[in-house]
Each structure stands twice: as C-alpha cells, then as structure tokens.
C-alpha cells in the first residue's frame, strides 16, 4: 500500500428511502493512522453513513449513488460472502451502548475468541492466549481470569474495553467508533479515549469517530467533518476547524459546546430548602423469607442548602446517588434518616420526611420536578392539555373552571415557547426539545418555588440544550424560582448554577460557590472530574 493512498474513500454517497434522500453528496477520505471525526446532531445521518460503509443498512434504505473504496477496493461491488470477510477483518465497529452489544449469556473471553476462530481459524487454545493478550492491550486488569467473566460482572467502561478488544482482534485497517463514549461517565470516557489514541499510535490504525460532542472531537480528531441534515457542511483539519470555523452551523455548534464563563453574581438570599444529614438506604433482601442482609447506601449523610431564587448544581457520576436525593426530597422514595426542611412564609417550617402523603400535598405545589428523558416523562395516551391540567386539578392550583384552565394552559405553553394549538396534540407528535418544554410547562402549572431538574438536558442535542437552559434561566429571573440541577455534565454548570455540590458514592465531597469549586477544586475527586473533562471544556471553565 502506498503511503499517500487513503484507507477509506467515500465518494458522493447517497442513501434514499422511498425516493427521499436521507444522506447525499457524502465524500471524505481517511488516511492510514488518522482519526477522522464525523460530527452532527441526532438525525443528521452520521450513523447511517457508518452503516453504509459496513453495508449493514436496514432493508428499506438503499444506496442510490456513490462508491466506497476500502484500500482501493469497491465495497459495493463485492458479493455478500466476501463482504462478511471485510467486516471484522478489515473494518471493525464499536457501538454506543456496551450493555447491549455483548451477549449476556456468553463469557466475554469466548465472545472475543469467537471472532478470532471465525476469521483467523485459530485453535481454541491459541485463541485464548491471543484474547488474553488483547485484554492486556486494552487495559483490562487480571486479563486471564476476566476471560471467564460474564458481561454483567463487568463495569460499563470495561465492557467498552472488551468491545474494543473484539474490534481489534483481527487487526483491522479501519475502526468505526459510533459514539463509543456517550453512555460512559466523564472519567471513564477520558480513559477510553486515551486508550483509543494509544492503539492508533501503536498500530497505525485509522479510526472513523462518530460523535455529537465537540469536546471529544477536540480531544481525538485529526480531521473533522460536520454533518447537518444528511450533508457534510464543513470539512477541515482540526486546528483550522476550531480556530476558524467557516460554516455558520459549525460556529453555532462550537458556541453551544463551549461553556460560557460568566459566573452568576451572588446575591444574599434566604434558605428555601435545607437538607440535613439525609440518608437513603435500600435494603438488600435475600432468601425465602426476604431477610434483609445488608443495605445499599444510595445517599449517605448529605447536607445541602438551596437558596431562594438561586440554582444549586449537584454533580456526580452515574450511581453516585444524586437522583435519589431529588426523589427523597419529593418523597418518591423514603428517607432512612435526616431531614428535609422547607422554609416558606405562609407555611410553618416543616420536615418533609416526616409527613404523610396527605400532609405532603400543600408542599407538592411548592416543589416540582423535570425529568431526564423527555420521551418517557409524558404519558403517551394523554393530550398536552390533559397532562398540564393534571397537576392543577390534583393540587388545586390556578383557576377552577375548564375554560379558565384552558386559558392558563395556553399562557403556560406560550411561556415555554410552544403554541396554543399544540394543546390538543399527543406527546409523540413533538421533538425531544419540545417535550422537555412541555415537561417544564407542566411543572410551572402549579407555580412551584423549587424545581428539581433531574438531568433535563442530557438527552438533548447541544443546540436544543442551550435553548432549554436559556428558558430555565428566564423563568428563574421572572419568578425567583430555585433549582436543584442534577447533572453529570460539567460544561453547563457555569451557565446555570450559583452553587455546586460534588457527589461521590452517596456523599458530598465538596460544595461551594461555582467559581470557587470549579476554579480551585480542593477535593481529589473534584480535581479528577475536572481533569477528565475534554480539553475544550476544561480550558473554558
């Protein structure tokens, strides 16, 4: 192979479904040892492009134009049985979700060994020793004994390492990584990205890296292409790309991805909600009589202070117990110990954890919640009108008559940037960002003083994320609302929070004003979190 010949060459690719083009005019080249990033928001056609390269498109879709050359060989002219040899051997793929890409009833080692046996015809014994080598290469500790583990025994990051080992097994020329770190925590993401880079350097592998995250692109890519609505709008070298983006869409993407460094000005404010020494322990039950054999300490002695009209950001990785705190404040789970005191001028000071469901009702209109997944947060069988009305009826807030309520709902919808005629539609007719707005309108309907935002933007694209955050900000200014903002995304914290608390394994390890914590982290874990954030984000913080 000559040095200047690209490993992969995509020329003028076009994919259609029933005459409607999903992607068109896609052309790019990947050189040996190069990491090529394909960036775009959901639905822009980046995954479709990768599936077209593997010739794994769903049946309804058809390639109507273009060529894909892998090492000068036209993939579309190959018969299927030769294509099978190309997959795995010359091109390998890793996916977003490590939980579902591995077969849960097969040992992880055997799953990798299978690839070796099929493609390279190795004997079982040789395959095993090769797998152990691969496991060591991708950084799985005690590789020899992990060979016999099942996927559920491994953590998310380790599963992704197994997937990478499987992809590398036949020493492919090209690795397609489709959002390989999106489902992982920041610290694990940093490790996996590091690993991919190491492997590229060691093997001279080419990587087609598909992502929506500009931070990751900045970390990884040599060259970048931006996709929008099925077309590549800009393609450039990395340095050039980040220094002087040409296309307005690229500029917007970059602007939304880089955190703004305008820290909130702190005003004196009274405490609205005081969480003291909160503990939530879930019993682990075993045996015939369901004896309690131990506890999962999801939240273990947390003290927080949320001030009127301000935002407290609660940061932590998955499983750190941050969502459980939100649920305990709302009494969706019962607290084991500690208190949650709500301070209000009209109501006596009360510990929410001690209240019965009936006594809790007056407080339910004070504290509301917005959820992470806009698709499951709304009942698919109810119209938007019914969804928003439910809280008003249940908690006796707002106008009583049906007509007056409808007016109020129209007003709420307009407030969150939707239209009055959306009232009688069903949730499935809306996009993710619109649904999140509906969720906000539903919470607003009962005029709360505190909204618990449980990762409200993590399922959204960056540009939509910026809009939703701006909406929350406007509402805070208008109504002096307080937010408990639960997130794992460090990049949005400066834009939204006044205070921040960092959580690890059920405990708060550090809390304080945003500028203080982000600028000068004291605790080791906070430092680690910040260091794991992509450079683009880290530099801006």
């Amino acid at each position: 192979m000559q040095a200047n010949q690209p490993v992969l060459e995509v020329k003028n690719l076009q994919v259609e479904v029933e005459q409607a083009a999903l992607i068109q005019n896609i052309s790019f080249e990947i050189q040996a040892g190069e990491i090529f990033a394909l960036v775009g928001e959901s639905g822009s056609g980046k995954s479709l492009t990768s599936l077209a390269i593997m010739r794994l498109l769903p049946e309804a879709l058809q390639v109507t134009d273009g060529h894909i050359l892998l090492n000068q060989q036209d993939l579309f002219s190959l018969p299927e049985h030769q294509m099978q040899k190309v997959r795995g051997k010359q091109v390998a793929m890793i996916f977003q979700e490590p939980m579902t890409s591995l077969n849960p009833v097969m040992k992880v080692g055997d799953q990798v060994a299978e690839v070796l046996r099929v493609h390279l015809h190795l004997s079982p014994k040789k395959a095993r020793s090769r797998v152990v080598e691969l496991f060591e290469e991708v950084g799985i500790p005690e590789a020899d004994s992990r060979y016999d583990w099942y996927p559920h025994q491994l953590s998310g990051g380790q599963k992704q390492r197994v997937m990478i080992a499987m992809a590398l097994a036949c020493e492919p020329d090209l690795l397609i990584a489709d959002e390989p770190t999106t489902a992982l925590d920041v610290t694990i993401q940093a490790q996996v990205l590091q690993l991919l880079k190491q492997i590229r350097d060691a093997r001279g592998l080419s990587i087609l890296f598909i992502t929506h995250d500009m931070g990751v692109v900045n970390e990884m890519a040599d060259r970048v292409a931006v996709m929008k609505q099925g077309e590549i709008v800009e393609q450039a070298e990395k340095a050039h790309f980040f220094d002087s983006p040409q296309h307005p869409y690229t500029r917007k993407l970059l602007a939304d991805a880089v955190p703004k460094r305008d820290y909130r000005t702190l005003k004196e404010s009274r405490t609205l909600l005081q969480v003291s020494n909160l503990k939530v322990h879930f019993p682990i039950k075993k045996g015939l009589f369901q004896r309690t054999v131990g506890y999962v300490k999801a939240v273990d002695g947390v003290t927080l202070n949320i001030r009127k009209g301000q935002t407290l950001a609660l940061v932590g990785e998955s499983g750190s117990g941050k969502s459980t705190i939100g649920q305990a404040i709302l009494k969706l789970v019962n607290a084991t110990d500690g208190s949650v005191e709500f301070h209000d001028e009209q109501l006596p000071e009360t510990d929410l954890t001690q209240l019965s469901e009936r006594q809790m009702k007056p407080f339910r209109k004070k504290v509301q919640v917005i959820f992470q997944d806009p698709f499951s947060a709304l009942n698919p069988r109810m119209t938007i009108c019914e969804i928003i009305r439910e809280g008003m009826n249940s908690l006796q807030v707002g106008p009583k008559g049906r007509e007056a309520q409808n007016q109020r709902i129209t007003q709420l919808l307009e407030q969150v940037g939707l239209l009055a005629e959306h009232k009688h539609r069903y949730p499935h007719e809306f996009s993710g960002g619109q649904r999140q707005r509906i969720g906000i309108a539903r919470a607003l309907a009962v005029e709360p003083q505190l909204i618990i935002c449980d990762e409200p933007t993590s399922a959204l694209d960056v540009s939509v994320r910026a809009q939703v955050l701006a909406l929350l900000d406007d509402l805070q200014k208008e109504y002096q609302m307080s937010y408990l903002f639960i997130t794992h995304d460090l990049s949005i914290i400066p834009a939204i929070a006044h205070h921040v608390a960092v959580m690890q394994r059920g405990k708060i390890v550090e809390q304080g004003e945003v500028e203080e914590v982000m600028g000068n982290p004291q605790h080791e874990y906070t430092q680690q979190l910040l260091n794991s954030a992509p450079k683009l984000v880290r530099d801006a913080l």
Partner: protein, 446 residues
Amino acid sequence: MTVSLLWTDMMIWGLILALLAWGRLIGRSAQVRKQWLQVFESKVAMVAALVLLIYVLIALLDSVHFAQNSQASQSFLDALFSHLAHSAERTYSAPFATVEYNRSMQILPNGEVAQLYLPLVHVDAGASVLNHSLLALGLGALIGMLLIAVHLWWRSRQHALDFKVYAGKVWRNQTRLPWRTAYIALLVIVLFFSWLYVLSFSYHVLGTDKVGGDVLYESLKSIRTGVLIGVLTTLVMLPVSLILGISAGLFKGWVDDVIQYLYTTLNSIPGVLLIAAAVLVMQVIMNNNPDWFSTTEERADVRLLFLILILGMTSWTGLCRLLRAETLKISQIEFVAAARAFGVSRFKIIGRHIMPNVMHIVLIAVVLDFSGLVLAEAVLSYVGVGVDPTMHSWGNMINQARLEMAREPMVWWSLFSAFFFMFILVLAANLFSDRVQQVLDPRGHK
C-alpha cells in the same frame, strides 16, 4: 306472549350495552378513533369483523326468549327456524337425501319381510333443488343489495356526497375503508344463508343426526353457546386479571407475593381436572335440588353459566401475569413519578396512567382468548364435563358424531357442520385479533 329472559340472555345483552357505551366513551378520543379506522383499513380485518358480526347477531337473535301460551320458551331464532325444530326424522339421513341412511326391516303388504330405505317424513321430494336454489339466490341478491344500498345511502349522507358519486368511489375502491370488499363479503354471506334457509323448507340441507334432529338447526343453535362462552368468560376473567395484575405490579411487596402464589398455584393444577371436579360437584348439587329449576332449559342455562364461571376462574392467570409485568415496567416510567409528584392518588394513577397504557395488551389477549375458549368448550363437552347434554353446542355435536366416525359408510355431516361453523368463527376471530395486535401494539410499529 311474554318475554322470559334466561340468566345468560341478560348477561349478554348487558355486555352488548356496556360495550356500546364504552365504544362511545373512547370514541371521543381522536387518537383511538384513528387507531380503529386503521384496524379496518385492512381488507382481511374488515371481512373478519363482518363474519364476527354475523355470528354475534345470530347469537343475539337466539338470546331473546319468549314464552307463548304456556309452551316452552322460544327464541327469535327458533321462531325463524320453527319448521326445522319440529321436523325430526327417525334417525340419520344424509344432506339432501329423500330416504333414511340405513335400511329398516319392513313388512310389505304381501306379507314378505324386506330391508328398505324408508322415505323421510319432512322432505318434499318433489321439490326441484335447482329451482329452489335459483329462487333462493334471487332472494338473497335482493336482500343483500338492499342492505348495501341502505349502507351506501347512510355513508354518502355522512360524507355529504351524492349517492351516485359515492357509489362510484366505492366501486373504484377509492374509499378509505375497504367498503367494496365488505360489500362483496356481505353479498356472499347473505346469498349463502338465504340458500340454506330456502332449501331447508324442502330438505335437510345438512342431514339429520342419530335421533333425527336437523343438523343445520343444531349448528345454528350452537352459535349462541360458542359465542356466549367466548364472550362471557372474558367478562368474568377480565376484572380479576385487571385488578390482580395491576395491583401486583403497582403495590409490589406482600400484595405481589400473594397474587403471584395464587396464580402459580392455580396454574400448576391441570385446568381440565379442576373444571371436571367443579362441574361434577355442581351436577350433584343440581340433582339433589331438582325443584330449583322449572324447565330443563333453565337448568341447562345455569349449567352453562357455571361452566363460564369456572372457565373464567381458570383462565385469568395468563393475562394477569402479562399485566403484572407491564405494570411493573410502566410504574417505573417517569410520567408515573411525575403524577406522584403532583400528589395524584394511587387509584387515579391506575385509572389515568396505567390502564390506558396496558389496554392494548388487554384487547389483544381478549380477542385471542375468545377463539381459545370456543375451542375449549368443544374439548370439554367432548370429555363430558362441558355444557348440558340437552344443550345445542358444537362440542356435543362432535361428541355424538365421534362414535359414527368408525361406521362404514361414514356419517360425516354432523362433524363437518360443527367443524365448519366453529372453524369460520375461530378463523375470523384470529384474523381480526392479528390485525388488532398489529395496530395497537406499540412495539409493532417501526
């Protein structure tokens, strides 16, 4: 003449009224209407629904009993087919036969003894099958056309279109629902039934059974039994599985444990055994208290009701298990958490958030179970623990015919008729449920 409704009559009419009310209620939702229109967009579903409708109509005709001057009570269907009800022969005769199927010993006027095929009493041997068929088909075509015209007129009024314009659209199959297919199917069904009906005046169209009863009449009377068992058992089973399944999934803890133990236990007892035991117990009770019932008909009806109850008691477990799993899933979804954050009570959460989201499962299970139950009746009657032997049912017909299978030449028509009527019903129910499943199951969509 006074109307005298049996227990099962009242239940089936009550159910029909409830279904109509429910249909009106959910018909208010635009989404539901759209889904049901989608169901009927399939030609197969349209024809299957039409067939089911005809069966239900026959069952309903047979479910209005009235007593006339101290005679045994009669239904509308009996009145329509009274010429068959009172035209019993001596024994077997083949379809369209004019003589009995077996030879009988006969003493001739000259004193000799001979084996002869005796002529049938209630057959008009002189009637020409061809002439009567033509007459029947003409009549059927007339009735069918009339029905179609009325329906067309109604639809064109709904669409505010001229009758001719609308008829043209239907003819070219340009309507949203496949009305052309439905009209053709309706015409075929009407022609078939009018042919059977007209010829039944002159012949035993489907032959006679061992005691000379007309098989066509028996088969038609069996429709009520089959439909009743299919529909009413669901009525018994549905509340049990809904309440228990959703409570188990939502309340978890000890409620879940108790319900799970209950259905696991019930499931591990062989169903036929349980039903047989229950039916035998009931039979003993009935025999000990003969004064409870004034007529054999009432007695048979109560036995049918009891069979429905016991079938319902043994068949709720499957749906209950499905509902429990689905409720477990749905109760973890965030919109339920949102409702709880609004202080919505548990019962409202069930009614507003969980029930509507499990309804597709219920509907699919109900339509699928229907055909299973019709078949179960046949099996149980065959085993001898089904409906009362005096009651007309496909199971009893098959049970009687079973002994004749070994005869040479074979008596095939009882079995054939029971099989044919049951097969069409079960096939239509299955095809229809397929379509319902396809449209309502959210996982079916891409």
